[in-house]
Symmetry: C2
Subunit: 353 residues, 2 copies
């Protein structure tokens, strides 16, 4: 039986899982439990795109050349510096008879597992991409294993909009789970203290969804923290947060002051959604004793978080943001449909790309 987690596609080093592999076998022939997708678009992880963009000083041709080189060398799109990938959209071309994913040929799908573990072959040299945006038009093949996740794209939404939401759909689901735990515990204890939530990077994709999710889960007061005036105005206009604060998340003192002022106390739950390094200490300092920090940014440093909390004698729970929570795709698409503020930010973002 072929490995449900794709071990048979690992070329080197031997014995690791596909995400940890340096190189995968991306040949198009599928095993009975696999599915082959005809790719139409890649969506690069924000941290990965930013690293490539900065490395090449905004030269789109050089960014495109490096993405082609990575995929050709590794059989997958995994940025060797950030370690991150992204996701893709495409059409089911062939579904093995023993695949448990329930997909049918011709269905248009988005993959909800990372590109870092998805065998990928690019056929068109990315000729339709200018290297200047995370959204990459692409003709090629990708392979899904038995234990993968793919969402059939909803008919009522623009596929690019669905893709942008699905790319970050783990964040609102986990935020809702964490916030509702605080709400339930306070209710159970008869404690009337409001549950306070701060979302760092609140105007971005995962940030705006997380703000909406926190409110839905029962947060009594929320603040979205953003780095620039344009984002402050945009987030204020859509009304997704009770307060919007301007602060550099890399400056621990400025960040914690901004959050504590806006919420009139430190946050019970702080959600980090900004893709720049160095936000760990500020997030810890902005969080109340007994609170939780959820790190969704791939730029998070494990050591900085662990040692930062210890060094500040901060009794906070720190979560590695897991991109998978059961029902995450439906929950995020539901927020997009029901929250005009979320939809407005996503559509503005896509229009600007």
């Amino acid at each position: 039986m072929t490995s449900p987690v794709g071990l048979h596609r690992v070329v080197e080093p031997a014995g690791v899982l596909p995400q940890a592999a340096w190189r995968l076998d991306a040949s198009p022939e599928i095993a009975p439990n696999e599915v082959r997708i005809r790719v139409e678009r890649l969506n690069l992880d924000a941290a990965s795109f930013r690293q490539l963009w900065e490395k090449h000083g905004g030269d789109g041709d050089a960014v495109r050349a490096e993405v082609l080189e990575i995929v050709s060398a590794r059989g997958k799109m995994q940025n060797p510096v950030t370690g991150s990938g992204g996701m893709l959209i495409g059409t089911v071309e062939e579904a093995g008879r023993r695949s448990p994913l329930g997909l049918r040929v011709g269905q248009r799908v988005a993959t909800l597992v990372s590109l870092t573990l998805t065998p990928l072959t690019i056929l068109d040299g990315l000729a339709r991409w200018d290297g200047r945006s995370e959204q990459v038009p692409c003709d090629g093949y990708a392979i899904l294993f038995a234990r993968s996740i793919a969402a059939v794209l909803p008919a009522d939404l623009d596929p690019q909009l669905s893709l942008a939401v699905l790319d970050v759909c783990g964040a609102p689901a986990l935020t809702a789970r964490v916030v509702s735990r605080y709400v339930v515990e306070r209710e159970r204890a008869g404690d009337p203290t409001p549950v306070r939530v701060a979302v760092i990077g609140g105007a971005g994709k995962s940030g705006s969804l997380s703000l909406a999710a926190a409110r839905r889960a029962g947060a009594a007061r929320t603040v979205g923290v953003v780095p620039v005036v344009a984002e402050r105005d945009a987030l204020t206009a859509v009304g997704l947060a009770d307060a919007v604060a301007l602060a550099d998340a890399r400056d621990p003192v400025a960040l914690s002051t901004a959050v504590t002022t806006a919420l009139e106390a430190p946050a019970d739950v702080t959600v980090v959604c900004v893709d720049v390094p160095g936000c760990e200490h500020g997030a810890v300092l902005a969080t109340a004793d007994g609170g939780t920090v959820v790190f969704f940014s791939m730029a998070t440093s494990f050591a900085a978080a662990a040692l930062g909390a210890e060094g500040l004698a901060a009794d906070v729970t720190m979560l590695v943001g897991n991109g998978y929570v059961p029902g995450h795709a439906e929950f995020a698409l539901g927020l997009l449909r029901s929250e005009p503020g979320v939809r407005a930010l996503f559509e503005a973002r896509l229009a600007a790309d």
Copy 2:
């Protein structure tokens, strides 16, 4: 008023917290809310010492020279590659009149905040250290800020034994907190399923304490996973775990098979205490849906954990092991005093150093 978190000691870059700083001001004059410690011993973080040891191919003189160079350049002992530090033992030499730590001149203490944020000056060139062990005899000065933690060394225990326990005392405290949450939730739900706990690296310092903590918190079945026969025999002999399994934690399939076999099911809580990179995927794969992985190793990769869980469609909660939990020092020293198995492993380890 001088900063309680030591901002006034940061030399470069400006505006960051001491742990994130490249260089600290380690001058011996203290502010009214600081404490100066006369250092007698450093205890390097295991991941840091291993990196230095491997880089210099086991040349103790070269390891010593690099430690001296780091402390001289940075004003603190923070390994530039691993980002980690360690802790120290010493005697209170001067306590500022506004220090809230409650320390008195002459008390023998261990610092429970990391060396990565502790201003440090070495005076003796580490002349008494051969560079071949994590325990570093040292004459020098260190500075504690207002928001620091230091434990007065207990009179009934060998100081080296106390230091070894205090160095990892966050692990058993957090393990106990996480395990007891599962025990309480199952009781509340009337669910008789036993709570299963796996500790990867169960024969080590944080591992053996975590096994004892898990059992005390109500774990019904525990397994300690170790990489070599000698550790298997040692851990089996002291009886701290219900089962002991031999597996390479970097091999996800081998690790998850070992855990699942020993516990007769995946673990509800998996605690990672081994200081080698690449254990994230195996830990996730060894953990049940709805379970929790606690990462205590500084060699943990944030991206590997986040993307690994997503790629495996694993609904697991992943915690960044925070070295600070209120009461952690007393709890860990209590385990050492009351669990002969823990004490035996610690004493054997110190004797071998």
